[in-house]
């Protein structure tokens, strides 16, 4: 898993998702190369969360999802987790009445089941990455603050050693300083060779850390390109970044 390999890790083509008769996604194409950080930005209701849920198999979809050399047609969540896909959902979905440590250990459930005993090492790595979680390891997850919960959710997803980590609005409801810390962690993770698909409202910060970006609008890809180009694209600036929102740039520095 080095950045040199230019293999497509995730290849989504012509993905359709409908809630009843309402089509939420109409033919999305998206590719992600191994070791890259790709971001999907767009306004509320553009279908960003739906896209992640469909890739993860939480929502039924039409179209093909090619992940890590295999085709999945409307797969189920557990199979994909077993193949190395991890999702940190918007709602975090922590095990609130269990301890922080148990939450993390359960992230390695698939590895444990396969007989991979090296998960304790990953646990230590995660405690190194998030010293705060180490301090609170015996505390119930429900008692954590918003930022800590987000760290726990990311840490739990990392425990499965995913090939691709998908994050849904990781900065939602977090104070700017914490957001900055979380974004710094993405850069760290990427430099360790973890591929990341990041869905964000915080467009400026997301474009700053990403390699490539997609702009989603009304269930379709409206624009795409290298993140640095999109960040300077006048249309994107006008619609999502805004001249007045310079302060967001600080969040990712």
């Amino acid at each position: 898993m080095t950045q040199a390999t230019e293999k497509n890790l995730l290849d989504v083509s012509d993905l359709h998702v409908a809630y009843g008769k309402v089509e939420a996604l109409t033919g999305i194409d998206l590719t992600l190369k191994e070791g890259k950080l790709v971001t999907v930005i767009g306004p509320n209701g553009a279908g960003k969360t739906t896209l992640l849920s469909a890739i993860m198999g939480i929502l039924p979809s039409k179209g093909t999802i090619h992940f890590n050399g295999q085709d999945f047609i409307c797969p189920n969540v557990e199979t994909l987790v077993g193949h190395g896909l991890g999702l940190v959902p918007e709602k975090r979905e922590l095990f609130s009445t269990m301890t922080v440590q148990d939450n993390l250990l359960l992230g390695a459930f698939q590895r444990y089941r396969r007989g991979d005993k090296s998960y304790n090492q990953t646990l230590n790595e995660i405690y190194e990455l998030f010293p705060r979680l180490w301090e609170r390891r015996q505390q119930q997850a429900g008692t954590l603050s918003g930022g800590e919960r987000q760290m726990l959710a990311i840490g739990r997803a990392m425990m499965s050693k995913p090939k691709l980590l998908m994050l849904d609005e990781p900065s939602l409801g977090l104070a700017p300083l914490i957001t900055r810390e979380i974004f710094r962690i993405f850069t760290d993770l990427r430099s360790q060779g973890v591929s990341i698909l990041l869905v964000e409202q915080n467009a400026r910060a997301a474009l700053k850390v990403a390699d490539y970006a997609y702009v989603l609008e009304g269930g379709q890809v409206a624009m795409q390109g290298p993140a640095s180009e999109l960040a300077n694209d006048p249309k994107v600036i006008e619609a999502y970044l805004g001249l007045a929102s310079k302060h967001q740039e600080l969040l990712s520095s």
Partner: protein
């Protein structure tokens, strides 16, 4: 009432209470993980007891045909799904293993002289026969409904209970049965004679409860089941499949149910339809625990056993009424105190 009668009643109450506690824990376990109220749990109790009794009378328990039938349906469905999608070698191996298991159990049941083998072997065979029925029942009747509202699951559960009582009548006949006690000795404790079976029931129950506790607190598989109960979607995202969780809890429930049946069969005569009232008392315990708290459910279930035993002394005609009336104040108290409504997320 003198001291001697009180200790005798207490002994009865504790024995029954221990069984109710086991059943309450499995009802609670199945409910929190799968949202199913396992009403047929009592049938596992009677199946366990009656299978044991049949073996001791030297008859081959007809329950083997139920196991074979269910395994065949299960495997047929598996094969059908394989053909519809694609053939997976590992899954095919699993199907062969399941069929092989059923055939081996049936071969053992038919070739051993069942009444002569040691009791421990009879117990093991009974458990091997009944425990697999749990997960198959989950797979056939509940897995296709995994996302259904709790009410639908409850209705299916009731239907299953009625069916299983019927199957029990068909397989075991209407006669009641009692088995030999595990050991014949009795113990003297002061002026009171303790039946050895009473001690067996209490010790095995405590052992099972402690084992369950350790499994759920210490092992990752146990934690995975708890996690499914806490947050279903969160668990799925860690690759803990609700199907796996459902089958595992049903296997545990079938195990606890049939083990309880084997334990109490030497003490009370059980008929094909006796299971329901027994599991209902476990259910009262589970309700006292608010269908969430394991320790309170266990204590509640022991209290139910005690109250039952003492009401036999004072008002034996009303013992069921007294036990089930007990549930009302608890329901009122629970509903006044609880703020969380419904189980839908």
């Amino acid at each position: 009432m003198n001291f001697q009668i009180a200790t005798l009643l207490g002994q009865d109450g504790l024995t029954n209470g221990a069984i109710y506690a086991l059943l309450a824990l499995s009802i609670l376990l199945v409910f929190t993980v799968t949202r199913i109220l396992l009403i047929p749990l009592g049938e596992f109790v009677t199946f366990g007891a009656l299978t044991m009794a049949a073996m001791q009378m030297g008859k081959t328990p007809k329950l083997e045909w139920l196991l074979l039938g269910l395994v065949l349906i299960d495997c047929a469905l598996d094969v059908y799904q394989q053909i519809k999608r694609h053939i997976d070698r590992n899954k095919m191996k699993m199907i062969a293993l399941k069929l092989g298991y059923a055939v081996i159990i049936i071969a053992l049941l038919n070739n051993l002289s069942l009444s002569e083998i040691p009791m421990i072997a009879q117990i093991a065979l009974t458990l091997c026969l009944i425990v697999p029925i749990g997960p198959i029942i989950y797979r056939l009747f509940f897995q296709p409904l995994a996302d259904a509202p709790a009410l639908v699951l409850l209705i299916v559960s009731i239907a299953l209970h009625v069916t299983m009582v019927g199957v029990g009548l068909l397989l075991f006949g209407p006669e009641g049965a009692r088995t030999q006690p595990f050991s014949d000795t009795g113990f003297r404790l002061g002026a009171v004679m303790l039946k050895s079976q009473t001690l067996w029931v209490i010790l095995v129950s405590i052992f099972l409860i402690v084992a369950l506790f350790i499994a759920f607190e210490r092992t990752l598989y146990g934690k995975a089941l708890r996690a499914t109960a806490v947050n279903r979607m969160g668990a799925r995202l860690q690759g803990i499949s609700p199907i796996f969780a459902g089958k595992a809890t049903f296997a545990l429930a079938a195990f606890i149910g049939s083990a309880s049946g084997i334990l109490i069969a030497p003490i009370t005569t059980l008929y094909y339809d006796s299971g329901f009232i027994i599991s209902l008392k476990g259910f009262v315990g589970a309700i006292i625990g608010g269908l969430v708290s394991y320790p309170i459910a266990a204590i509640g279930a022991v209290a139910v056993g005690m109250i039952e035993a003492f009401s036999i002394f004072w008002a034996s005609n009303y013992k069921e009424i007294i036990v089930f009336t007990l549930i009302i104040p608890f329901l009122i108290w629970r509903s006044m105190n609880s703020h969380n409504v419904e189980d839908d997320e």
